[in-house]
């Protein structure tokens, strides 16, 4: 129970943020917010020992019991690792944001409310055991990301980026929901744990591949995999703390989490292994390649994030391949799962610090354009050191954490070549090659990021602000992360024991029963030269050479068109204008057009039903006799109707309408409906009076009142409706499908209801509610009339913004 409530702690805390911001303005709101992730981080840390031994925690909160939907917090190694990342990086980012966002100029209450909302959503994603609540939290991360990207909502680019990320990730989320529903149908449960336990039976199901692809769409859109990554670079319009937190350390890893979480279910499928590994690796290459095209510091980091996410994704794919190998725990393939989680931690550490440095550079120089930057090394020595550590870790240099996981990544890719399933024996060689090329570009852009910002010639005349080192408070978080990147290098096996192995055991339950079964020992030096080490040396050599000559060939990037983005832009433009144009086609704004649609459909539907059911019928029996009075009244009725049609003046038309009403009343008399006749006479009199009153008050706009012009189209529709109604009347009179309930009323009116006037008794007794609502309608009309007459909106100037 308490674990579930902890998920909601941030969003509950968010309720107090606006109050704190308004009332305690002199203290930066961030200090209060900081308490939340810090406290959660400490609490989740206390769970480490028991989880590291292979335990888990479950707690449940019912949400919609009748549909069997609940919030179930399930914490195993994988969930705990992510929860620690979310709260740990969260705390550092909030600390950083306190110095990044000015407490007087920024709308901090908005910012922190969104951030805390995101925290709840993200914790919910990684802890939910129930698919439906997982989906709910998943979409909530998209929404909070939308709000945070659009935080500076007055900027066009912010709004554009926010919308783009929202459209792409929510599209993926909906696909994922489809996959979840299919899984729910297949396994007859929405619990992930129960689904995993039934995994062997699910494989053969018809929906299996559909569910797989749909869930992968969700994961790929969220984790910015090719070709969906295009939202991530535009998401960089968000304030830098947000980029560091959502768009590198946590939210974009939700897709990785999803893939990891579902590996036990889908690993049995070759499609899964191919898709996850292939798309991941391709994304890694693509992202690292285009990172060098970027001129914006955060743009470089965004593409680098895309690339690194692809790397981890491909490792998860390889770890699923372990399912298909007999002695998977003994061959090099078993490095993949470990490497994925290990690199995920390393990436969060170094990329978090790099984003914060990019933010610092932006904050202290006023620009993020790498062409204007340079030579900041002496002015910002601490930032430079941090950036260097982060970038070297990203490039895979020792002695930083990234070196270890990068090498394990190469090990995993090389191991794929020995794999002889799913035609890997033919194509397998491609994987290490692509991985190697991607790593070379990773090396280059890491150096590009650091040295083109901090080395080279200082150009103070191009900077909007004179550069200087950031305030101490702002440096705490990046420095801390940089130290962590170094520390991880020296204690990889302690990190492995406590964080990585429990998570790996959760991803590969088909290989390991408990975290202690994961026999992976991380070492910087294996005692002999492995193929991976040769590959690493090659990366340094080639990467170094290419970086040296970067200025000579970087301009070649301008040749690559921005196909995917322009595709998105065109798609958005077309769907916007296209939809608008399409609805303009029929939404003309003339009431006549709408009436024409309605009447045409009335004719089509009613006549169509007639034709389909062969319902044309004229019953010549049981007819009432035709008398003289009836004929006379009928002629009067028809005559006045024709008069309305052809009258030139309104007055004539109104009087003729009254004549029609009185004729109808006379019909009621003849057809033995005294109540109707009385009501009709009264109502008709009032109506005519009302018409005349309105007519009297109307200003005379034009003396010459035109006769109605004959319009053929209108006439056709009018005649059609008339014919249809005649047919309906005939058919209704002729064919009585069911016995009328009238007989019941006639027989029981006195005995049951104690009344003599059957019509009145029906109205007030049998159908009393109808009458009540009829009075309601009268009341509403009355109120409407009074408001229309009494309330006059005073015309305000300037209300029409479009004028």
């Amino acid at each position: 129970m308490s674990l579930v409530l902890l998920i909601f702690l941030p969003i509950i805390a968010a309720l107090f943020i606006p109050l704190l911001f308004k009332k305690v303005g002199q203290i930066h709101t961030g200090w209060f917010v900081l308490l939340v992730p810090a406290a959660l981080f400490i609490y989740y840390s206390t769970l480490l020992p028991s989880i590291a031994e292979g335990g888990n925690r479950v707690s449940e909160l019912q949400w919609i019991p009748s549909l069997d939907i609940a919030f179930i917090a399930y914490i195993d190694g994988l969930s705990l690792l992510f929860s620690l990342l979310i709260t740990g990086i969260g705390a550092l980012v909030v600390l950083y944001s306190i110095f990044y966002l000015d407490k007087y100029r920024e709308q901090l209450h908005n910012f922190y409310v969104y951030l805390l909302m995101f925290m709840t959503a993200m914790l919910g994603v990684v802890q939910s055991d129930h698919l439906i609540s997982l989906y709910l939290f998943w979409e909530l991360t998209s929404i909070s990301s939308f709000l945070l990207i659009g935080y500076w909502y007055t900027r066009d680019r912010s709004r554009f980026g926010a919308l783009k990320s929202m459209i792409i990730t929510v599209f993926g989320g909906l696909m994922m929901l489809g996959g979840f529903v299919l899984l729910g149908i297949m396994g007859n449960t929405y619990s992930i744990r129960e689904l995993i336990s039934q995994a062997p039976e699910l494989v053969g199901h018809d929906f299996f591949v559909w569910a797989l692809v749909l869930i992968l769409l969700g994961a790929f859109t969220k984790s910015a995999q090719f070709p969906f990554y295009i939202w991530l670079p535009d998401a960089m319009e968000a304030p830098t703390p947000v980029s560091a937190y959502l768009h590198s350390a946590t939210m974009v890893k939700a897709g990785l989490y999803l893939v990891a979480r579902f590996t036990p279910i889908f690993a049995a499928s070759g499609t899964w292994v191919w898709l996850v590994t292939g798309i991941g690796l391709f994304t890694m290459l693509w992202g690292s390649f285009f990172a060098l095209k970027q001129k914006d510091l955060k743009g470089i980091l965004a593409f680098s994030t895309v690339s690194q996410l692809g790397l981890i994704m491909s490792l998860l794919g390889v770890s699923a391949a372990g399912f298909h190998v007999e002695n998977a725990t003994e061959i090099a393939l078993n490095y993949a799962g470990f490497a994925a989680i290990f690199h995920l931690i390393n990436h969060a550490v170094f990329k978090g610090s790099l984003f914060m440095i990019a933010g610092i550079v932006d904050h202290e120089t006023g620009t993020r354009d790498i062409r204007k930057l340079g030579g900041l090394m002496s002015l910002m020595p601490i930032s430079f050191t941090v950036a260097m550590i982060g970038a070297f870790s990203m490039a895979g240099l020792p002695p930083f954490g990234g070196f270890l996981s990068k090498e394990m990544f190469l090990t995993g890719m090389v191991a794929l070549t020995e794999f002889d399933l799913f035609s890997m024996d033919v194509w397998g060689i491609l994987f290490p090659v692509i991985a190697w090329i991607g790593s070379v570009f990773t090396f280059i852009y890491s150096f590009y990021f650091v040295f083109h910002t901090f080395a080279g010639k200082h150009k103070p005349e191009e900077l909007p602000k004179p550069a200087h080192e950031a305030p101490k408070g702002m440096l705490i978080s990046p420095v801390f992360l940089a130290i962590l990147a170094v520390v991880i290098f020296f204690i990889p096996n302690i990190v492995g024991e406590w964080l990585v192995k429990p998570a790996v055991a959760a991803i590969q339950p088909f290989m390991y029963d408990s975290p202690s079964d994961v026999h992976v020992h991380v070492a910087a030096w294996h005692g002999y030269i492995t193929p991976e080490l040769w590959m690493t040396i090659g990366i340094f050599a080639v990467g170094g050479l290419m970086f040296w000559t970067l200025r000579k060939w970087q301009h070649q990037y301008e040749r690559f068109p921005n196909t995917l983005n322009s595709l998105y832009d065109k798609g958005m433009f077309l769907s916007d204008t296209g939809a608008n144009r399409f609805s303009r086609l029929y939404m003309t704004g003339f009431i006549r057009s709408y009436l024409v649609y309605m009447f045409s459909f009335l004719i089509i539907i009613v006549l169509g039903t007639f034709v389909l059911n062969d319902a044309f019928a004229i019953d010549m029996n049981n007819l009432a006799p035709v008398g003289l009075y009836e004929i006379v009244i009928m002629l009067a009725l028809l005559g006045s109707t024709v008069t309305i049609l052809f009258s030139k003046s309104r007055l004539t038309a109104i009087i003729a309408l009254g004549a029609v009403g009185y004729s109808v009343a006379l019909f009621f008399v003849i057809f033995r409906a005294p109540d109707l006749a009385l009501t009709q006479l009264v109502i008709e009199t009032i109506s005519v009076a009302l018409f005349l009153l309105a007519f009297y008050h109307l200003p005379q706009i034009s003396r010459k009142e035109e006769r109605m012009r004959f319009r053929f189209g209108n006439a056709v529709i009018a005649v059609g409706v008339g014919v249809t109604m005649t047919l309906v009347a005939l058919a209704a009179h002729s064919g009585k499908a069911l016995p009328s309930i009238s007989e019941f009323y006639k027989e029981t009116v006195y005995t049951e209801a104690g009344g003599g006037n059957i019509v009145n008794v029906i109205l007030v007794d049998y159908r009393g509610f109808d009458t009540l609502f009829e009075i309601g309608v009268l009341g509403i009309a009355g109120i409407g009339i009074i408001t229309l007459i009494k309330l006059r909106l005073t015309k305000k100037e300037g209300q029409h913004e479009n004028k």
Binding site: F590, V660, L676, L690, A694, V721, G722, G756, V759
Partner: protein
Amino acid sequence: MEIIMSVVIGFMFMAAVYLMLSKSLIRIIIGTGLLSHGAHLLLLTMGGLGGEAPPVVAYGVSVSDYADPLPQALILTAIVISFAVTSFFLVVAYRAYQELGTDNMELLKGTEDHE
């Protein structure tokens, strides 16, 4: 009689629809009024017009001789509601004249700017 009435009803509907498709707001309102008259007669005809006695319990009248009370009850409700709607329409038209000075639907459409 029912067959003749059916044709009359069809004619009334035709006239009503034709009026409603015109440009003038007042004609549209007259059209709706005519439409409701037609609908009332339609209900009455559907139930059958042959009834020897009004549907009021009286001595010496057998149950089968009463006119069908159900359509009458429905029509009674409909009359009142159509009155409410017509008077509401009238006031809308009246206000529209006052504010905008026209009852031509083409002119009441509004311009692109207002969308």
